[in-house]
């Protein structure tokens, strides 16, 4: 709609309207790396908070028929360091610590004695690729019941034979599809995929699914800078799908 107004008045109105836009210039702080580093880290923390709030603890991730599963040879080996930390299977036990009634050492046979779940689910890497694989293990919730874990605690921490470490929220740990996984494609987990025991959670990104498990700890507090190998370098802690 065209109006006619005096030049001085137009300039005055334009200036006034321009000033109202000034708050947008605040985004300029992102141009300073020292500030932007902290702001984008805060952005990820906010995203993680929203992800936790959005997470539906009973909503299943998609499962697939056997024909949709990629051949075992096309399931990538991915590790941050070595693919074989040379775990001694004969001596291996899982150490359980923290807010549990029965802390101590647990054998693979004890874990395999718990009800087993086989699932064909999508493994999504933070890099963007994904593969549908076949996994077998026992739901983490079964094991937590066995050791008398306080499932009202906030976190499940794990340490691995290759110095990798991870932590996940209790809601995700208790998700019915979150496994202590000891089988892939109907075979015992091989060393490259995390033998003898790994986490397998179709509601989490790949880097959350720690391999070569050594210790599980139930806790309410995560040490800052010790929340997960990649998370401590900047990846999202929640890492949920």
């Amino acid at each position: 709609m065209i109006t006619r107004l005096e030049d001085k008045e137009l300039k005055r109105q334009s200036r006034r309207q321009l000033l109202k836009l000034a708050p947008v210039a605040a985004l300029g702080v992102f141009a300073f790396p020292r500030v932007s580093d902290r702001l984008v880290a805060a952005g990820v923390r906010f995203s993680d908070w929203a992800s936790g709030a959005l997470f539906r603890s009973r909503h299943p991730a998609q499962t697939f028929s056997n024909s949709d599963v990629v051949p075992f040879a096309k399931f990538p080996y991915n590790g941050y360091d070595v693919l074989d930390p040379e775990v001694d299977f004969e001596k291996w036990t899982l150490t359980v610590e923290g807010d549990v009634q029965h802390p101590g050492e647990y054998t693979l046979a004890q874990i395999q004695g718990l009800p087993k779940l086989n699932q064909n689910t999508r493994h999504v890497c933070v890099e963007g690729w994904d593969v549908v694989g076949a996994f077998g293990g026992t739901p983490i919730s079964n094991f937590l019941a066995l050791v008398g874990a306080n499932t009202g605690a906030r976190f499940l921490e794990v340490e691995c034979a290759d110095d990798y470490y991870e932590s996940i929220d209790m809601a995700s740990a208790l998700h019915p599809q979150s496994l202590l996984c000891y089988e892939m494609y109907g075979q015992p987990l091989d060393r490259g995929h995390g033998a003898p025991l790994r986490l397998q959670m179709p509601t989490k990104l790949g880097y959350k699914q720690a391999k070569y498990l050594d210790t599980i700890r139930i806790t309410n507090v995560l040490k800052p800078g010790k929340t997960g190998y990649w998370e401590d370098q900047g990846y999202s802690w929640f890492g949920g799908l």
Binding site: L5, E9, L10, L18, L21, W129, Q233, G240
Partner: protein
Amino acid sequence: MSNEEEKKQPDPPPDRAADAEAGAVEGTVAKLETVAAEAVAAEAAPIQPAAKIEELALVRAAYEHPLPIRITHWVNAISLFVLVTSGLRIFRAFPSFGPKIPEKVLLDIPKSLTLGGWLGGALQWHFTFMWLFAVSGVVYVVYQIVSGHYRTMLFTPRDIPGVWPMARHYFFFGPKPPATGQYNPLQKLAYTSAILFGALALLTGIVLYKPAQFSWLAFLFGGFHLTRVWHFAAMCGFLAFIPGHLIMVVLHGWANFYSMLSGWKREPEYQE
């Protein structure tokens, strides 16, 4: 009467009424007429409106972009810059739409065009600005609908016949079609497409961020794999829109650019 006249100004400064009361003669025609009418009614010493109007050089102007549009435009522009550059860095981590084994590199994007330094850094930028982009985009669309302002820019079937003459003018030196409204049909097509690219980017982004929680949305886009393709396609749409948009802004000069900052456009090229 004075109030009614003032309503025609889209965004009257709050002190206008006070000015009018003080009898200030400066201002718009409307104001002058008001003053003149009051003077005549009071049979006071005559002010000659005609003479006054000649003395004041009046400028044709239009308040084209309300404040919410301008704010969301610039927040979206900044967000898009961040999302595209950080998105390209994320894509570099797995530059393919196929399987991981064997991995076929589709595009080797130069690192210099990307933001974030590494995958984790780029994800931090992406996960921060996705919120700004989403909120700003939703505010923009809701404002367009509620205010009715969308009528100036929404591409409708009636605009179809005008697209080719405008494209011929821009790209093949054809005659310039007369300007009928704030935006020509080609502009409407471009702006409406940009909104659709934004909606596509946002919805596919939700799927890529939370494919398990929004499995129904993933299904709508044809699964996780195809959603990644659509998300990339939305970016390509923006990469097609933005250079054309910027070239047009440069060609149309300062007054046109300044209108997206101040809302006001001096001497608009259209009538009405």
